[in-house]
Every structure is written in C-alpha cells, then in structure tokens.
Amino acid sequence: MPVNETLSQYSDWSYTTAVAVYVLAMVFFLVEQSFGRKGRQAAARTRERARELVGAGAPADTGTAPPPVEHTGQRPRRDRSERLGRMGVALTVLGVLLHAAALLLRGLATSRVPWGNMYEYIMIVCLITVVTWLVVARKFPVRHLSAFVLLPVVILMFVGGTMLYAVAAPVQPALQSYWLVIHVSAAAASSGVFLVPGVASLLYLVRERHDRDPAAFARFGPRLPAADVLDRIAYRTTVFAFPVFTFGVLCGAVWAEAAWGRFWGWDPKETVAFVAWVVYAAYLHSRATAGWRGRRAAIINIVGFSVTVFNLFFVNLVTTGLHSYAGVS
C-alpha cells in the first residue's frame, strides 16, 4: 500500500503544533499553580472543594463527617489565576484535537492503524494520558496541577518527534494482524493512563512529606490538594488501567502464540511487562495491607510507572528481542 506523503506531512505539522500548544497550556497552568497570592487562593479553593468531596465519599474512618453540603450553585469569584487555568484547559483541549488529528492523518497516510513504530506509539500513549487527565481534572479539583502531567507528555512527545521519528511506512509481516490493533491499543491505553497515577503518586509523596514536616516543601506543599485526594486519584486511575493492561498482556500472549509459536517466551518485552504487572498487583495489595497504605503504596505506584517507561525505551532501543518496531534506527 503506497504512503500518502501529503497526509503524512500534515500529520507531522499537526503533531508539532500540538506539542507547542501543550507547552503554552503548561505555562498557563504553572502561572495558575504558582503565582503568588492568587495561586494560594486557587489552592485554598481546591482544598475547600476537596473537603466537600471527602464529605461526599469518604471511607468510614473519617468518622465525624459533616452532613453533606448542598451545592449553593454559586460560582466562586473568578480571579485572574482562575481565568488562566480555564484558558489552560481550553488550550489543552485544542492540543488534544491537534494531537488526535496527527494520529488520524498518520493512519490515513499509511492505510493502517497508526501505532506501528515507537514514534507513533508514543504519540498515542501521550494522547491517552492527556485525555485521561482532562477526565480526572473534571472529577477532582486538580486542574492547577495540569502542568505536572503535561510536562512528561511534552518531554515524551519531543523525544518521540525528534530522536525516534520514523517516516510513514507499512509495517513488517509479523505486525500485520488484527492483534496489532487490539494488543497495542490496550498496551498504549494502559500505559497512557498509568502516567497519571504516576504523577499523582509523586505529588502525593511531596504533600505527605509536607504534612509530616511543614518545613519541607514549605512553599510548594500547601498548594497541592490534600494527600487523600491525590491518593484517590492514583487509585482510581490505576484500577482502571490495570485490567486494561492485563487484557493487553493476554492479547499479546494470544498473538505471540500465532506469530512466534509460543504464547510466552520471556522475551525482554514480555518479561518487563510481567514485572510491571506484578508491581501494580503489589500496589493494589499494598492498599489492603496495614502499614503499607499511603506513602509506600505511592512509591510502589511510581516504581510501576518507571518500569513501564523502562519497557518503552530501554527494552525497545537497547535489548534485542522479537518485539521489533519497524523504523527505529
């Protein structure tokens, strides 16, 4: 199937623009997060809303939760940082549209699903991360933290778009299967979502450290939402991504049985996926184990995400296994 050069070119432009828009959005969020008094107000507002949220869905041990506060329906006064935050969200949505367009155009240009090499894979992973974050930020009062999610996204997309860029091309025979669509989408979806709990857990550690010792992260700590909220974000996103990841590994095994003659062979990619899976299972266990909730669980979640990133970069680029992606040179 010939590659449509024009569409491919449009895809590249769309990608670059999306990155630029994300960077701009990031600046807005950073201003909202950190600008002097206004920023603190934003954080205070966040805390207020967080308290309401806790009131509405807290675990039993909160004990004396106040009767639920009915929403007054009255919006808090919009100050400048609030406006900046809203503009940041608008920009992020614009970035997502451009990002999705880049992916779509790439697919149209090559007449196949656009996740056949690392560049494309990173593109879809990042798209899923940003979309997940937008969903999370609607449910939890954490919009002002968006920059901390966009930063790794922008870095990944920059690395993907420069060092790992691959010209649009068909994929090799082993990759031509509908399993490519299913297995890789599941892997990309879960990896994309996993970035969010990774970031939330990192911020949790900061917040938790600050709660124990107010001198630590004295300026940054108070601007973060309550540790409890961050923990909940991490848990809920992980709990969503983990079955998807499991499904992806399962599909990978089914595909490997058809393509390589065995469903599991401890190929480096398989091994590291297994390790990541076990680490996330440990995360879920840690939350049911006395003495392991909170800080240790957050650390495990971060380890899980590190293993995922390791799998993407180190295993693809350094080790040689069967998981070949065309066009990484």
Binding site: L53, A56, G57, A58, P59, A60, T62, G63, T64, A65, P67, P68, A169, P170, Q172, P173, A174, Q176, S177, W179, R232, Y235, R236, V239, F242, P243, T246, F247, L250, A253, V254, W255, E257, A258, A259, W260, G261, R262, F263, G265, W266, P268, T271, V272, V275, V278, V279, A282, L284, H285, S286, R287, A288, T289, A290, G291, W292, V307, V315, T319
Partner: protein
C-alpha cells in the same frame, strides 16, 4: 463450654505445643498479606535479570559470548543461574512460596466467602448519623409505606428487614457481592494458570526444520527429522504426534524499498487417517497463520535460498545438488553456505578423501558487484549470482559439522585446498585444473518451519480469561451498604409522619459511592415519592 474451661487452665508449653505453635506461626506468616506483598516484590525483582542479561534458552551463542567477555563475573553469574533465570532455583523458590501463600490465603477466604454469601446483611448501626453518608427527613405517611417504597427502590440489593427493640424498623441492604467473587475467581484463576503453565513446560516441545519449497516433505516422526529440537523435561522424543507436511511453493512480497510485506507458502499436510490413505490436504501457510494439526502447530519462521550446482567430473559423471544456504543479512538476504560433493565411483576411503569438493561462498538474490566483491541489494530474486571458492581435498565429513560451513581446520592444515575462486551468474561454469566443471544452474527457495507442541496452552488461556474477568469484577464493582431506619414522628397536625434516616458505607475505599447514595437517598426521601 469445654473450650472455656480449657482456657482457664494454665498454659503449659510442651515441646509438641511449641512445635505446633511454630508451624502455625510460620503458616500464618507465610499466608499474611504482607508476606504476599514482599513475595510479589521479590518475584518482580527476580524476573528482571532475564530482560537485562542474555538468556541461554533464547540465545545460547550470545550467552556464551557474554560469559566469555565478562570473565570471572560472567562465570559467577552463570554459576548463580543468571542466564537461566526462569528455571533457576531462586526464581522457582519465590514462585513456589508465592503459590503456598496464595493457597493459604485462598482457603480461609473461600470459607469466609461461602459464609458471607449465606449471611443476611448486617444489623443497622445504632447511630446512622455517624456513617460517612447520611440523610434524614420527615415524610408524610406511615412506616409501612416508607418501607415498601424502599424495598422496591432497592431491587438488586440484598435486603433484610428487622424490627428493633424500641419498635423502630430498619432495612439493611448490601450490594456488590460480585466483587469478592471476582477476587476469588481471579486468584484461583492465577493458581490454575501457574500450574497449567508449569505442566506445559514439562510436556511441550519445539523443533525447527528447513524444508525446500519444491514439494519436499517433512514428517514429525522423531527428533532426527529436525535440525534443532527443544524438548520439555518430560519429552524424550518418542511418541511425537504423527503428521507430515509437504512444501509446494513459497512466495515473498516486498515493497519497492525491499521491506517485506508478506511471506506465504503453499503446503500439503496429512495427519490421522490421511496418513494411511495418503491424502494431502492443502494449507496456505502465512506469518500469523500457523497450521494446526494433530495437536501441534506448524509455523513459517523464515526463508532463504538454495543455489543449485551441477558438477561434471572428468569421468563424465554428473552430480546436481541444491543445499540451503543461510541468510547473513536479513535485509538483502545475502546468503552463505557450503555445497559438498563426493567424487562418484570412488570406493577407497583414502582416495575419496583427497578428491571431495566443496563450493562455498556467498549467494546474492539481486547481485551487485563492488569491485570484485559480491553484495546483494535486494531480497528479491531478480539477478541471482554467487561468489564461490571451490575447495578440493578432505572435508572431514565423518565428523558432524554444520551444513553451512566446511571444517576450517582442514583448510588450515592444508588438507582442503582452494582450487578456484569465481563470481558466477546463472548458467556460468568454472572449469577446474583436472577438467571437472562446476555450473551454477539456478536457485530454489527454502522455508524454515517450526513445529510447536504444548498440550496445556488451552488451559492457560482459559485460566487467563477467568483471571481477567475476575479482575475486572473485583476492581470495578463496589461493595456497599445502605441502611434505612424509620420511626414514627410526633404527631403534630393529626397526620401521620415518619422520620426516615438513610446511612451508607462503601466497604472498599473507592470513591464514587457518594453519587449513588445521593441518588438513592434522594429517591427515598423525596416527598412526592415518585420512586414508587
């Protein structure tokens, strides 16, 4: 009761009791959640070297190279089984411990589970206002009305109605039992998967064989039929599932720049009754589409070329051979190999050993010459050519040797001598000093097939699917409780009123119950009670 009396007796630590205590503590320790957690960590940690170091079962030559390169360090790692991680003592120990822990954890939880499935939802707490979710309202109508509405609204919940000592009436409701079911299915599924996987490792085998794509056959009749064979621990190579395949043709398709698009081979195969009747059934073998027959799978792994040479000896006798050469460059399929000939009509071993011939060198499907050096610029067969050395002498063919090479030590010791070096296109001939001619006739395709046998993989799949479903249920379903207490209100205006309290608790720490609770409580407490 007897137990109580016993408890009152002073506790004496007899050795038997102490031993029992030790066993009990060990068992408790091993099956505690914390141990499971630590074992999970160890498992993750122990699996990691397998991704970082070459593994013998995947790539033996690379492993040997690595060990040689790292000297004592490599040998130490080897001693510690770091090149066979997944069959190492320590890896097995961790996962066996984890299995024990899992069983020890699952047994009591299964009992709990059965008990809880039979139990009525728990009593309504004294003070509902202490629950994380709480609403209260005074409604017109009697308690019966309210409770009837509540019951119909709580369809899908397990409910239990009780009358309390003070005359107040309550409903306890609970929902999300499937969560625990899912959790157990998940963990049992994992147990089954691990067992099936381990059994599979014992009874499976994998063999590779090269077959010429010119109607040549391969039969799964024993290890000897393979070029290489990896048996499981309990496979001795006898009693393999009988079947035969015959490779009729092979086709590869490439893009303009030589990237492969598809590999396909047309096969005939026979198994079961077909073996007796001699029926061949056709199959179109492709990457991702293995042939499944007789409980085995046949895969198309790769392909290459077998150049055909005809040697005409001085006495006029003619020998033709096509031996597979192996690709040295996967991009261009430049291949190397050695086609070996015995002189015809020579019965004396010593004499024969002076006159053996080997044609070795390079084959290019699309030849290009850089100076006199042959390279290939494309994997397609558009301009085949060879660059060969013809060697004469002793091939040492009594010793087993690679079919792709000659025994270099024979060359080094001078017992195998180069008598010609030429580049040949199809149809070209070399004439040797004794009048022997070597002609490059053309080329055939070969395919490399892999036969795989794993009797438990269907079980593994089944358990994996059970795990996945169990996991989804266990993670996405919330176990939650809801209580309603109704009490008659003081009559103020002659009408009957009822005070209704609703309390809720999610038993798992998932947020999101708040919304559901608000909805239900809203329905229950709304004055017009549309919920009826």
């Amino acid at each position: 009761m007897i137990t109580r009396e016993k408890q009152r007796q002073p506790y004496r630590a007899t050795p038997a009791r102490r031993a029992l205590g030790f066993v009990r503590n060990t068992w408790r320790g091993l099956t505690s959640m914390r141990t499971a957690l630590i074992l999970l960590f160890l498992l993750a940690l122990a699996a990691m070297p397998g991704a970082l170091l070459p593994q013998r079962n995947l790539n033996a030559p690379k492993t040997a190279e690595y060990i040689a390169e790292y000297g004592w360090w490599g040998r130490l790692l080897d001693r510690l089984q770091f090149f066979d991680v997944y069959s190492s003592v320590w890896f097995s120990a961790i996962y066996l411990l984890l299995m024990v822990s899992l069983v020890g954890c699952l047994l009591p939880r299964s009992l709990d589970y059965v008990r809880s499935m039979r139990a009525r939802p728990v009593l309504t707490p004294r003070n509902l206002a202490r629950m994380p979710h709480y609403r209260r309202a005074e409604l017109p109508g009697g308690a019966d009305d309210v409770l009837a509405t509540a019951k119909s609204r709580l369809r899908g919940w397990r409910t239990s109605e009780r009358t309390e000592a003070e005359g107040t009436r309550t409903i306890s409701a609970e929902r999300g039992y499937l969560r625990e079911t899912g959790n157990l299915v998940f963990h049992f599924g994992m147990l089954g998967l691990i067992v099936a996987f381990a059994l599979g490792k014992m009874f499976s085998y994998e063999g590779q064989v090269i077959v010429h794509a010119d109607g040549s056959q391969f039969c799964n009749s024993g290890i000897f039929a393979y070029d290489s064979f990896n048996p499981g621990l309990r496979v001795d190579g006898t009693g393999l599932n009988p079947f035969c395949v015959k490779v009729d043709s092979f086709e590869a398709e490439y893009t303009d720049v030589g990237q492969p698009v598809s590999y396909e081979a047309d096969l005939g195969y026979q198994s079961g009754e077909d073996l007796e009747s001699g029926t061949w059934r056709p199959y179109h073998l492709e990457v991702n589409e293995p042939l499944r027959t007789a409980g085995d799978r046949v895969y198309l792994l790769g392909h290459g070329f077998a150049p055909t040479f005809t040697v005409t000896f001085p006495d006029g006798s003619v020998r033709t051979q096509s031996v597979q050469w192996r690709p040295v460059d996967q991009q261009t399929l430049l291949s190397e190999g050695a086609t070996k000939f015995d002189p015809p009509g020579v019965t004396d071993t010593a004499q024969r050993r002076e006159r053996q011939l080997a044609i070795t060198g390079l084959f290019a499907p699309t030849a290009a010459l850089q100076g006199k050096v042959l390279t290939s610029v494309d994997p397609r067969l558009t301009n085949p050519a060879v660059a060969v050395d013809v060697l004469r002498g002793d091939l040492n063919s009594d010793r087993s040797q690679s079919i792709f090479e000659v025994d270099r030590s024979m060359v080094d010791s001078g017992r195998l001598e180069r008598v010609a070096r030429e580049n040949l296109d199809v149809g070209e001939t070399i004439t040797l000093d004794d009048g022997t001619t070597v002609r490059f006739d053309g080329v055939r395709n070969w395919v490399s097939l892999q036969v795989s046998h794993d009797p438990t993989q269907g079980w593994v799949l089944g358990f994996a699917v059970a795990m996945l479903l169990g996991l989804a249920a266990s993670l996405l379903i919330k176990r939650r409780r809801l209580w309603i207490r109704v009490a008659p209100a003081a009559e103020s205006d002659g009408e009957r009123h009822t005070v209704v309290e609703v309390g809720g608790l999610a038993r798992t720490d998932q947020a999101g119950y708040g919304e559901e609770f608000t909805r239900i409580a809203g329905d229950l407490l709304s004055r017009d009670r549309k919920a009826r």
